[in-house]
């Protein structure tokens, strides 16, 4: 069974991490806003995606 990115060790959605990853993002927006809806960065693939996505490289977060 393949789980969602939400629980994957490669998925980073901490707001402080997101704001540090995109300098300038907090100048006119915020990683703490509703519109982000939990989206984060897959550090393995370098993409920004929803926590409900999934892929075969899933590794459960420790």
């Amino acid at each position: 069974m393949i789980e969602r990115c939400l629980n994957c060790k490669f998925f980073e959605s901490n707001p402080a991490y997101i704001e540090a990853a995109f300098p300038g993002l907090n100048s006119l927006s915020s990683a703490y806003s509703s519109v982000r809806a939990g989206a984060g960065i897959c550090v393995r693939r370098g993409i920004f995606l929803s926590p409900s996505e999934r892929c075969k490289d899933f590794l459960r977060r420790d």
């Binding site: 300098p23 006119l28 927006s29 519109v35 989206a39 370098g46 999934r54 892929c55």
Partner: protein, 474 residues
């Protein structure tokens, strides 16, 4: 390896088989959203302040009126006069700072921001805000175009780009949190009848501008410059709807490379800063009606925070701040912001059904529209409806003599504080050296979209719907 299925070209496993195997979990954060997202906290704080103000007003207490003190309306002409005001009211300013620290400090702590970082940076922000209000309260401020929103932004930019402020100080410079709280407070002085009467016009104008700007940027980026369609969609919606916030929403809907989102952040920040100064000064040179200029800002500025800075600045220049803010709010907050979720859903569908085809295993849900909805707008509507209902029972003389000075003006003052915190924070968090180089092609596509947006926004605001916007603020 023998027996192993070949992976897709994107290395995703989103085949139909995967989709069938995957557990169905909702994407939304569930109850956590109510205490981890600043949109909800902006509602709690804004509505809370309105309720406390109302209770104090009904009981004849002046505590909120005292706490809402600011030096912006002093019209001081000598430093002695200004210093005299502060020495006489030092206890009120101390109490006010303490109150802001408690409500913002506790709420940001719950959201996960370190209090040890928030407190010192917010104290600096508060002291700078007092200076901004004081500049605005100078008797000759208007003569020299010293509008507090623009001055706050400029001083913030200078400090952030000259003084090496440590990055942890951003913990106290919460641009979006402050503007959202201010918008909910704005709802308390915004008649719901105005939303009902002018809302449909705003929604129609927003629909026209959103569609044309997004499609222009998208097609120029893909057809003329040959850019990746995911990058085109991220910058297209960023330019058409709500800047960085919309870019974030679309980037996650289409699973964009993180560089694409970073590119969009740079483009939006740079053009939003340009528009904060461009639209007010062009409006002034054309002697535009404040409501019309507010609607233009709402149509063509990229972010709520930047737009409020521009609209407030021009409203003060034109002598009708209320009209400019009303025009902006109707167009941007009620009109364009609604499109974030809709575009997210549309692009998620396109991405899934057209770009990925067989690889798409996570079927987009129409609930995306709600998940991406900027929830603080709900607080604006609640405050507007509630206060309109409360104040409707007062006859005009009583309203002007009692309700306005005792209830509404203190709320307006607290809103001004939230806005000035925001305008300063925009400058203080914008470090040009940290912005990513966007590349000429994305810059070109976005800039063409900006030019069309600004021109069309002016045409719609001044000519097509000008008669509606001119009636604001009366």
């Amino acid at each position: 390896m023998a027996g192993e299925k070949k992976k897709s070209s994107t290395d995703y496993c989103e085949t139909k088989e995967c989709a069938d195997e995957a557990p169905s979990k909702p994407q939304a954060m569930g109850w956590k959203e109510f205490y981890l997202k600043e949109d909800w906290w902006a509602i709690y704080l804004g509505i809370g302040i309105v309720l406390v103000s109302l209770i104090a007003f009904l009981n004849g207490s002046t505590i909120i009126k005292s706490l809402a003190i600011n030096p912006g309306g002093l019209k001081w002409s000598s430093l002695d006069q200004l210093l005299g005001h502060f020495s006489q009211n030092a206890h009120l300013y101390a109490l006010q700072l303490f109150s802001w620290l408690v409500i913002f400090g506790v709420s940001t702590r719950i959201m996960g921001i370190k209090t040890s970082q928030f407190i010192p940076s917010f104290i600096i922000l508060y002291l700078l805000s007092i200076i901004m209000f004081s500049i605005g309260g100078w008797v000759d401020a208007a003569k020299y175009n010293l509008e507090p929103p623009l001055v706050a932004l400029l001083i913030g930019l200078v400090i952030a780009n000259v003084v090496p402020l440590p990055r942890w100080m951003d913990s106290g410079f919460r641009v979006e949190y402050f503007i959202k709280t201010g918008i909910v407070l704005l709802g308390a002085t915004f008649p719901i009848t105005l939303v009902v009467s002018a809302g449909p016009v705003a929604l129609f104008q927003a629909t026209v501008i959103s569609l044309i700007t997004c499609l222009t940027i998208y097609f120029i980026a893909t057809r003329v410059f040959g850019l990746d369609k995911r990058l085109a969609s991220v910058i297209g919606v960023g330019g058409a709807v709500c800047g960085v916030s919309a870019s974030m929403a679309i980037a996650s809907s289409v699973k964009a490379k993180k560089e694409y989102l970073y590119t969009s952040v740079t483009l939006v920040v740079v053009w939003a800063l340009v528009m904060i100064f461009f639209i007010p000064f062009v409006s002034r040179s054309l002697n535009l009606n404040a409501g019309v200029a507010g609607a233009w800002v709402g149509t063509s500025e990229f972010a709520d925070a930047a737009g409020f800075a521009a609209a407030t600045a021009y409203g003060r220049m034109a002598g009708n701040e209320n009209a400019a803010i009303q025009g902006f709010t109707l167009m941007k907050v009620i009109g364009r912001d609604m499109w974030i979720g809709i575009w997210s859903f549309i692009f998620a569908l396109i991405s899934c059904l057209k770009w990925e085809k067989e690889e798409c295993g996570v079927k987009p849900s129409a609930m995306e529209i709600w998940w991406r909805f900027p929830k603080f707008v709900i607080g604006f509507f609640i405050a507007s409806f509630f206060m309109t209902a409360i104040t409707a029972g007062y006859a005009t003389p009583d309203f002007n003599k009692l309700v306005k000075p005792g209830l509404l003006l203190p709320i307006v003052s607290l809103r001004s504080w939230a806005f000035i915190f925001c305008f300063l924070s925009i400058g203080l968090t914008t470090r040009f050296r940290e912005l990513k180089a966007a590349g000429w092609k994305p810059f070109g596509a976005f800039t063409i979209g900006v030019l069309i947006n600004v021109s069309l926004g002016f045409f719609l605001s001044a000519f097509v719907f000008g008669s509606y916007w001119m009636n604001l603020g009366k």
